[in-house]
């Protein structure tokens, strides 16, 4: 597959031309072939979307690998989410670049070992917190108790809850007491922590 290297930095283009003699190089604004593997090295600080989206619009059939001199997780995510097929350190060794090309040409995505590791770990840790947020607490509660629980969880006072549901403050207290008992909370604050899925340390 034809490969094309794009950058605004003339010096970088020269060094790439040297490293990959059979590579086409050009500006980010160059004419694009309909089908190619495009390497793009935008200036540092450019957000990936502003580079990836126009390129994909101009050459929808092409594969795009975004290069970065200071690769980081967020940028990689943004690039791939915008439609890039790969994200790679601009100073990577030629063999690594070859591998990236192979992977991408075969329909894979390339973000490098280190970044993939970090991406995986953050995602799994984020997902681990999510299920805790899950609404297990609803299981043993009646409909009314769930109403009151949600109100307490967002910080409402008994008086406010009473007004909201058109019942007396006394009845609110009744429900709150039941909630504390059922969910094993000491007071409404711990109740709100449970409802909101905030991890407990105690």
């Amino acid at each position: 597959m034809q490969q094309l290297f794009l950058s605004v930095d003339a010096q970088r283009r020269d060094s790439w031309r040297e490293a990959f003699p059979d590579l086409n190089v050009g500006f980010l604004e160059s004419h694009l072939p309909p089908t190619a593997l495009i390497w793009a090295l935008p200036p540092a600080g450019t957000s990936p979307e502003t580079v990836v989206s126009p390129l994909r619009a101009r050459a929808p059939e092409s594969l795009l690998i975004l290069l970065s001199d200071e690769p980081d997780e967020d940028e990689a995510l943004a690039a791939l989410a915008a439609g890039a097929a790969g994200y790679c350190n601009g100073h990577a060794a030629p063999t690594v670049l070859q591998q990236a090309a192979t992977v991408v040409e075969n329909g894979g995505m390339w973000i490098g070992q280190a970044l993939m590791k970090r991406l995986l770990s953050t995602t799994t840790s984020l997902l681990k917190q999510r299920p805790a947020t899950n609404e297990v607490w609803r299981d043993t509660l009646t409909a009314r108790e769930q109403d009151v629980a949600l109100a307490v969880a967002r910080g409402a006072s008994n008086k406010e809850i009473a007004r909201q549901f058109n019942i007396t403050e006394r009845t609110v207290k009744f429900h709150v007491s039941a909630l504390l008992e059922k969910l094993g909370a000491r007071d409404r604050l711990q109740l709100s922590l449970i409802i909101n899925g905030v991890p407990r340390l105690t």
Copy 2:
């Protein structure tokens, strides 16, 4: 690179042998060559870790692609996190499997287009929520106030906080009052919502 297909399902092994005549097939318990590309199709419902970890322990140099008849995001994440190089639908077309092999052999990771898309979207959406949790509230607070704020946020009573920091309950109240004033909260529950980054509706 030598490829090896592992499963406990005899029928599946036969169909694979048919589709890939030059492929070695075996049980999950088979002897493993030191260096190979291993395809493993564990029985449905098996957690990826229990398959991946032992395999990687027995053949650390090998590349492992986990197959699943009912692929889903969580399982893919678990598999890759455990050290698999790929995760793929067990019913995927031979060409797709070939691509996966190419990608993995070149040091890439393979989880398929659809799964990658979903993984990216969930990760970005999760990361988008994170910054809201960001600790803006620390800005205007003194060191002691931050201590007390964190304690309040996890549900500690004034008495407990006093014990924790070796100060009187009175002083805790002093700090809490300052916190409520500075962060614009009505009571300690709303304070905890702010600290914990729970979105406010009021």
